[in-house]
Amino acid sequence: MVLLLFNAFNGLIQGAFYALMALGLALILGLNATINFAHGAFMALAAYFAFTIFPYTGFWGALIIAPLLAAGVGFVVETTMVRRLYTRKDPIYTLLLTFGLALILQDMIRTIWGAQGQPLAIPAMLNHPLSNTYFFVTGYRLFVVGVALVSTGALFAVLRFSRIGIRIRAGNSDLETIAALGVNIYLLRTINFMIGILFAGVAGILAAGQLGLNPNMGDSLIMPAFVAIVVGGVGSLLGSLLGGLIIGLASGIVTTFAPAASEVVIYVIMGVMLVVRPRGLLGQEGLFE
């Protein structure tokens, strides 16, 4: 029983990472119409930024500043490259562009910081198990869940109440109309892209605190994040969030019974979802098709 709880809790943590990644991807998929293959590389980049500024800012400062630095790189990428492809209707171009960028970013990380994994120190106050029976419930893991909740809550609040958030949502459903209303959609897309990267950055630092840094750390998260979007439903941020949590939890639970199947199970869930309910949990019919 403890083992099941242990794995379920692990799965939930994993799901929180998937959800953070999926949210960022879903944002960019929505308004930027881009499958951002470089999302995992941005995530790793933010973690390495945190690693570098850590001695000066401490963990908490790094948690705030490093994602912003990664978003700054995202700004450069969006304005100099991704933006040029919006007029091409075929999604292949942005997909291959971000795929190439992922290779370049990973290679740069490897060159600058080395291919070896590194630890990222986390504050001592977060590093204690909270009980002896449930040894796996460490302060840091609760912290991960907490940060995921807070940042997701903040995102939904921004989308709901701020002017820019309302425009992003409107742009998701009808970009032409809001452009006609005089909204600068280029700027809007840039900001949206950067918000997406911010989420990757937060996920990267949290993951580094738990598993350490390594140039390929994004690889194991980006595919499940895609699956989370498909399961949750393309076009729905809430769906992506739920999708991430569900596949994380499912993968955790399956680990208890069949460790070898823990990764495959999320693809099975996706397959079942596609057959039973092709638009996903909360997806809109016919979006991006």
Binding site: L29, A33, I35, F37, M81, R84, L85, R88, D90, P91, I92, Y93, L95, L96, L97, F99, G100, L101, A102, L103, I104, Q106, D107, M108, R110, T111, M223, F226, V227, I229, V230, V234, A260, A261, E263, V264, Y267, V268, M270, G271, L274, V275, P278, L287, F288, E289
Partner: protein, 343 residues
């Protein structure tokens, strides 16, 4: 308006299309001669035969992918799965079942093709970006199966312990060294290319292209487009599996890398780099991609950056690919040349 006998007009149509057709046939024959002669001229320019085998294997996979991508308009980011299934199929057959490389190759091709035929219809339920994401995820499933099913597939370390056995023909034994293997790859490449060429010149191929152009229009003519996308997917996956099977024989080794999405991305960039609307585009793309990778990885550790730059530069500056851009320049000079090349 009266309609004169259609027969005379058919003849007229035939004579207007014939020169173009002949030029294509001559071009293909020339290409065939160049490829047959590779072992003789490649060493003169500093290459080696295995490199040519690798180029043709990747070109074949990318041409298979391109049936779906360039000619049906379906962006699959998961074709490594079918390539990889072909590779594992061949590896496992040679390791456990048979020493006959042709039977093994057939088995690997059928395995990958069957997977594509089963999974294509699921992906074909959706279009656009959604289609791509589903193909990515389906592809990753096979990656994890190969990684986790240690006892059968060798896990992360890959599958070893098989080799291309010599081929015994009546009165002749082929040792299947680099040279023999190159010709085997070339024959497979030729068969695959011939099959694709035939399909693209048939009503089935015309239907694929029409779906790419305007699936709505075709739906209103009474065509269930999903079904044809699934067919294109299956054919395309089968060709990729054939290439994957050859890839396993190439190094007498296969590993989960051949199932990974990175390889799917490589096939895509090969097609796009060469020109995805052109029949021979993937061959041109494969020549450049493999040669650059081979060369760059021998001179710098940062070869991934160079490969990444190939993606970025070709996407930003050569969206039509090399053959497409050449056509474009020629079209500027002589407006009668078609921008695209549905053969």
């Amino acid at each position: 308006m009266s309609t004169p006998s259609s027969l005379s007009r058919t003849d007229a149509a035939a004579t207007t299309t014939n020169p173009k057709f002949n030029r294509r046939v001559i071009g293909n024959l020339l290409l065939g001669l160049v490829l047959i002669a590779v072992p003789f001229w490649l060493p003169l320019v500093g290459g080696y035969t295995d490199l040519a085998s690798r180029v043709l294997i990747y070109a074949l996979a990318a041409m298979g992918l391109n049936l779906l991508l360039g000619f049906t308009g379906g962006l699959s980011f998961g074709h490594a799965a079918y390539f990889g299934l072909g590779a594992y199929g061949v590896g496992l057959m040679l390791k456990y079942e048979t020493h006959n490389i042709f039977i093994a190759l057939l088995a690997g091709t059928v395995l990958g093709g069957a997977a594509a035929a089963l999974l294509g219809p699921i992906a074909a339920r959706r279009r656009g970006i959604y289609f791509s994401m589903i193909t990515i995820a389906i592809g990753q499933m096979f990656y994890f199966i190969a990684v986790r099913w240690n006892s059968f597939t060798g896990g992360y370390d890959g599958l070893t312990g098989f080799s291309r056995h010599p081929v015994h023909l009546p009165g002749l034994t082929l040792p299947m060294g680099s040279l023999d293997f190159y010709y085997m790859v070339l024959i497979c490449f030729g068969l695959g290319a011939w099959g694709l060429w035939t399909i693209l010149n048939s009503p089935l191929g015309h239907t694929f292209v029409a779906i790419r152009e305007n699936h709505k229009r075709l739906t209103f003519l009474g065509i269930r487009t999903q079904r044809y996308i699934a067919i294109s997917f299956a054919i395309s996956g089968t060709i990729a599996a054939l290439a994957g099977g050859l890839d396993a024989m190439y190094g007498n080794f296969t590993s989960p890398n051949v199932l990974e999405y990175t390889l799917s991305g490589n096939f895509l960039i090969i097609a796009v780099l060469g020109g995805m609307r052109n029949f021979w585009g993937p061959l041109v793309g494969a020549v450049i991609f493999i040669l650059v990778r081979d060369y760059v990885s021998s001179i710098t550790h940062n070869w991934m950056t160079v490969i990444g730059l190939i993606f970025v530069v070709s996407v930003l500056f050569f969206p039509l690919g090399i053959l497409g851009s050449i056509k474009d320049w020629r079209a500027l000079i002589s407006p009668r040349i078609r921008e695209q090349d549905a053969p």
